[in-house]
Symmetry: D2
Subunit: 348 residues, 4 copies
Amino acid sequence: MIVITSNQTPEEQVQDIIRVIEKEGLQVHLSRGADRTVIGLIGGVTPKLAEHLRQMKGVENVVKISKSYKLASRDFHPEDTVIDIRGVKIGGENLVIMGGPCAVESPEQIDEIARLVKASGAQVLRGGAFKPRTGPYSFQGVGVEGLTMMAEAGRRHGLLTITEVMTPEYVDICAEHADILQVGTRNMQNFDLLRKLGTCGRPVLLKRGFSATYDELLNAAEYILAGGNRDVMLCERGIRTFETYTRNTLDLSAIPVLQSLSHLPVISDPSHGTGRRELVEPMSKASVAAGANGLIIEMHTDPDNSMTGDGVQSLFPDQFDNLLRDLEKLAPLVGRKFSPGPEPVVTV
Amino acid sequence: MIVITSNQTPEEQVQDIIRVIEKEGLQVHLSRGADRTVIGLIGGVTPKLAEHLRQMKGVENVVKISKSYKLASRDFHPEDTVIDIRGVKIGGENLVIMGGPCAVESPEQIDEIARLVKASGAQVLRGGAFKPRTGPYSFQGVGVEGLTMMAEAGRRHGLLTITEVMTPEYVDICAEHADILQVGTRNMQNFDLLRKLGTCGRPVLLKRGFSATYDELLNAAEYILAGGNRDVMLCERGIRTFETYTRNTLDLSAIPVLQSLSHLPVISDPSHGTGRRELVEPMSKASVAAGANGLIIEMHTDPDNSMTGDGVQSLFPDQFDNLLRDLEKLAPLVGRKFSPGPEPVVTV
Amino acid sequence: MIVITSNQTPEEQVQDIIRVIEKEGLQVHLSRGADRTVIGLIGGVTPKLAEHLRQMKGVENVVKISKSYKLASRDFHPEDTVIDIRGVKIGGENLVIMGGPCAVESPEQIDEIARLVKASGAQVLRGGAFKPRTGPYSFQGVGVEGLTMMAEAGRRHGLLTITEVMTPEYVDICAEHADILQVGTRNMQNFDLLRKLGTCGRPVLLKRGFSATYDELLNAAEYILAGGNRDVMLCERGIRTFETYTRNTLDLSAIPVLQSLSHLPVISDPSHGTGRRELVEPMSKASVAAGANGLIIEMHTDPDNSMTGDGVQSLFPDQFDNLLRDLEKLAPLVGRKFSPGPEPVVTV
Amino acid sequence: MIVITSNQTPEEQVQDIIRVIEKEGLQVHLSRGADRTVIGLIGGVTPKLAEHLRQMKGVENVVKISKSYKLASRDFHPEDTVIDIRGVKIGGENLVIMGGPCAVESPEQIDEIARLVKASGAQVLRGGAFKPRTGPYSFQGVGVEGLTMMAEAGRRHGLLTITEVMTPEYVDICAEHADILQVGTRNMQNFDLLRKLGTCGRPVLLKRGFSATYDELLNAAEYILAGGNRDVMLCERGIRTFETYTRNTLDLSAIPVLQSLSHLPVISDPSHGTGRRELVEPMSKASVAAGANGLIIEMHTDPDNSMTGDGVQSLFPDQFDNLLRDLEKLAPLVGRKFSPGPEPVVTV
């Protein structure tokens, strides 16, 4: 860390600052310039010390020069993380496709969608059992039963499953039934939830908060990693900007940026990232072209009658299928190949 | 609601749209213009119908013309809500000041701060027992003990207390010890929490999400109101913008706008809204001048050593005291007067 | 247009509103609902009438239902515009690549870069003669001489040329020397400039303002089209958001959205859209995958010593060449093919 | 400036960086930490060198530690600038009020408004002669005649005048007729215009671009100051955010922030900053409470029939008058007093 003092800071205040730093056992490097004096700190700086220094008289600015995350950083883990879940590989050169409805509605619905998702060549079935809704009277999801419906459909059709977990107390039951747990955009900084996921024994897909910076996303991932769970995927799903024509602005630069800062796989969500069905196809292709390690896409057999009202961004099955055909051709041009599907679950 | 079709929509599609609306028991008013045909719906429209229509062939746009919140709307409740908590009045012409540390640290700390907050003329003691932190290893708060320390300090010095509740399971214990429960910016759309607060028996201060629109804030308030709890305060605490010099951009237009759309009191938080101590005083005065019904301000006896690192935005006690002296003069010029403090708790 | 009145608007005010509308010679359609009355206007509404209505007593909202642009809209021009400049085709299924330095620096520099741009298969040479700089003492461009240097290099190597024009008085001289005139992001709403470009006789590439909505961009294009110039390209070049890691957030959804709203070609600028060299390649591919009709890319033989300090986002020649090789393979997968290069200029 | 290298930078690259710095005649201070090496530069750094360093191999980040503006900075000019225009004082403890229509429409209109503005106690008459409009067919202003109409009205009623200048070629004629020249939000970075204003001999009110940071605004002011014109006022007029209920988000923190970074007066524009008449009064009071040195407010005798369609944000004369009565009481509470009006122009 670096502390910058203005050209009007009296020497006495500079010495006060140095004293505070040395009291914490850190070394000081001093550079005096024409306009500013720069005080470099060598050693580990606590957030408390950083804030204390920022408030001291004479301090003009405090600049962080090391990243606040370590486990998520490529500096400390240069190779790509490749998560292996029953033979499905996520990360590196592999491309994984997760498809399915916004919400699980019935055993028949999820079974039929699973069949189509598998037939199109995807490896993971997505579906929500519990739904966060923005109005007090809207559909709340089918609950725990939805988890078993989806697990059953995944097993029958040879797909992994991913579902969103919204509170710490549901982590265990979700981890029992789903292969991957997803953290939604509004929960990216729900630290109780992140901590619990650090020990849940399942890979986690962490969605970027719709107003979170790359740095904040990586710090949120650090929470899960620090708990001992190294199987974390990052997910770009659109940010809030002044443009309201699309529900969010899908920030595809996030894909190469996060891949350069971190070794974790980066998944793109063009469904929530645009909120419009007609944009899912071009933004899916753009995501893969930008280097995404996977896609999570809403697909529904009857989107006009979906129970969540999110049908507006769901692909029809034939659109989903056509998209995957196109992605098969596109992937090799950008160094990606479809991951194999999961090995069957062997029960003795 | 209004459905707009483009000038190229065939008559057959228009008739399909009308059929769908009438099937739901709603009446239709049709206006044919040169470029567009407008189909007005008369009656209550479910979100599901709205989305269905949006997706139908030929539909160019669907415009909501009624607000999605009712209980929070001034349309249905023209008079200001004035919340009365043991004689402290929040709303209408009353001005309420909430002061205290970011986090309760010890019985001595909170007692001394309570004494100063009271002496300055504020009515409410603020303080966090549980802290959401953005890094995995930072201070997490002193927990339930903090609640009793703060309750005790409030009682001794004649102050109401307000504390943040972060998960549904802590609502009951917080409601037992604090007079007002606060929902933080990251929880504004934590619907499990909002639902639980709807029946908690305590007034609630609901902070605007740092990327939430006015409409989203009012819909979140609707959740609590719909649960039966009519004592809700809205709180502007800064939004995320491209300007990074301040931690957030305090949006003071929110004060008169929310007051015109809703009957609920509007509180301003200049401490989190700016993240800089030197801006708290001018932004507090500006908030009151804009018509705020109250302020929630961080104050600490030793901000440089506060345990949360939020000391950087905390006022010193003498700054807090000077500010309240100035606000006493300013308030009457904008139709506000300091609310009386709380009546003592009588225990038989 | 639609005027919405609240449920508390007295009948007398509704009649006032109707009278104002009818006075302008427009027809009225009235729909009375439970909460709101909706007054539809049939006929052309002037901005002045719209604003007048918005301010009238009893009016809650005024909703525009027709677009404010006509010539730029696909509603009135369903087929793609394909601009043909000496055999180079821009729009439709054609892909055009514009490459070159941020600024023209010398005859040798621009000649060498033109040679490389042509050898890589691009059709257009870009380069600035006049530079807008954000600090008072930085490089301002080489001026009119730069125009002739670039024109000469384009002619010699068989490339069209594009250059930015910053003020109305330079339109004529730029139009004399360059094949395409470019409007920069800060000038998107410089209406004097747009008007002048409407009659300049050259195709125009109009960059989206870094805080402009799609609607504002299309209205700016309307200005040029209304002047009689139908050869307009839209250009996405990144918007300002809360994320500061990248210089701007390249909004690739703009590509399919603008193509659906308008018939005009859409070009992507990954160099300015990201501000980082290492992101140009993935974002170029993503742009084409999203359906872009072309790319404008900075390339420099010696970016570390470029005179503008924009070298940080310029590709090296071999990176540019490799990218074009990859795009040749990618284009056919998304229905694009490289446009032919320009026919030679025949001088009699 | 500081250059930061990652922990994986080979020593050879560090030496390359140092060589480049020393070649420019600057001194180097080196601090080696556990994770990063920090290279401090002592002396003046050109933007070109900064960019060059940013691109060098091994460089992780380049941090600017001196401000890029000098003349606008309080570091180099600790006392408040107070601009004196014929006895009207702008800056310091003085409060100046500028009122008038969006556009000058006729001699009668501007004369009547001037009379009312003066009667209410304001010191400056505002009004546009040339209007930037966002649609190709809307009102463009009355032109040069408007300047003389306004000058005449100002002289007759004892008011200074301020008008917007939109292109460099109109600076001279505007300077001839108006006392203060205004730069609009879309021209904040029109460097040709800023340069011209640096030598125009008139005080300038520089509006913040609606997507400009504080730093960018101060750098734009530097342009004018560097030309020799020291009479510059900064103006906060709202920024673009995700909230669309208000036309812009008026960022009142800008007032104390700009006053701490710079010695220049800061004016607030609540009319454009909110775009809604009913918000002008509360936001005017909030601006003064936050410490503004002045206000610029739209007022119109017949806003419903104003020619620009901006009437929606104009106060009626009685609202303007009531507001000034309230501000007279408010000002002394925040250390402000109304500036005297202008001395009469003496013509020999």
